[in-house]
Amino acid sequence: MSERAVELEVLRYNPETDREPRFQRYSVTCREEWVVLDALNHIKETVDPTLSYRWSCHMAVCGSCGMMINGEPKLACKAFLREYRGVIRVEPLAHFPIQRDLVTVIDDFMDKLARVKPYLIPKHEKPLAEGEYRQTPAELKKFKQYSMCINCMLCYAACPEYGLIPKYIGPAAIALAHRYNQDSRDGGRDARQEEIASTEGVWECSFVGACSEVCPEHVDPAGAIQQVKIKSTVDWYKEHLMPWLKK
């Protein structure tokens, strides 16, 4: 198996001793087919056990290992070393506070995710005896792509609006709210609108589109946000110009 010499420049921050983060250079020999996460694991095992980062599945499913690789938000488990030339710069996800080294504080996202109620709120509760909620392939297709979100937060690191206006609910949370709004079994749209149709919701988005470009699961949060904008606008006109319709 062929090997390659790799130089990584990793942003380090120890909250107990450092006033600010600094870059540390590691030179390691890696296998040709490794990803950045393999290189980090190799460094942790053989060079520097103090290096901190999150990871779990190593197969782009858990969404834990999001980090900036040469300035782009990437899953470290999906970023192949062979695709990079020269020194590979690894930093924590942009726009999130740094907890330690490559570990970020994600409380803000977790809070926003909970606020948009990303779960089915059935239109009518029906007893088990009536059987399952049925759905046609067309109804499934309407929301399926949004359900592929793995909460990796790469879209937040790509979104300058979120970086500039931290109150913004952000791409993934809105895309997930939209996913449930689009679900034929769901009746929770009104409850979610309060969060996502607010100023801090879709209206902070100026359609940069970076969220959809960096998504490792090919979800289209930018599309979801624009669709919510259009539907919310239609709601507003219905409410103000045609009050007799009552939504």
Binding site: A94, H95, K141, V208
Partner: protein, 133 residues
């Protein structure tokens, strides 16, 4: 929830360099900047209307100014920005207005293509009523 400890997280300042982090942000900022030129063009139109209301001499002076090199340069640049904004915007329409017919979604190219066709039709109509042909 566990007891809150002083974790001393480090917050990075964003600054303005993010614009150059990736070409997509430069493209986005160009689209945003296009509003300055389109806004400027609109102001010139309003100024033109004012000159028209003030009589033939004022209108003639406005037409003279339109032929000046500065005006021509501005109009060429504004046209470039207007085209850039319109084309990138229409290319984004499939994201904002997906259309599901039966099980499948209509191809992106058809949705943006319909917008381009509408744009062409309206432009031709405006040119026709302006007496261009």
């Amino acid at each position: 929830m566990a007891e809150e400890v002083n974790r001393r997280p480090y917050v990075r300042e964003m600054g303005w360099r993010w614009i150059f982090r990736h070409p997509r942000y430069v493209r986005y900022m160009l689209r945003e900047f296009s509003c300055l030129f389109i806004g400027g063009y609109t102001l010139i139109m309003v100024w033109g209307l004012k000159q028209l209301a003030e009589g033939p001499a004022a209108w003639q002076a406005f037409l003279e100014w339109l032929r000046s090199p500065a005006s021509i340069v501005f109009h060429v640049v504004a046209l470039g920005f207007a085209l850039y904004h319109s084309i990138t915007w229409f290319n984004l329409t499939p994201k904002a207005m997906p259309l599901q017919l039966g099980e499948d979604f209509v191809a992106d190219g058809l949705i943006s293509g319909a917008h381009f066709a509408g744009w062409a039709a309206v432009s031709l109509a405006v040119l026709y009523f302006a007496g261009a042909f």
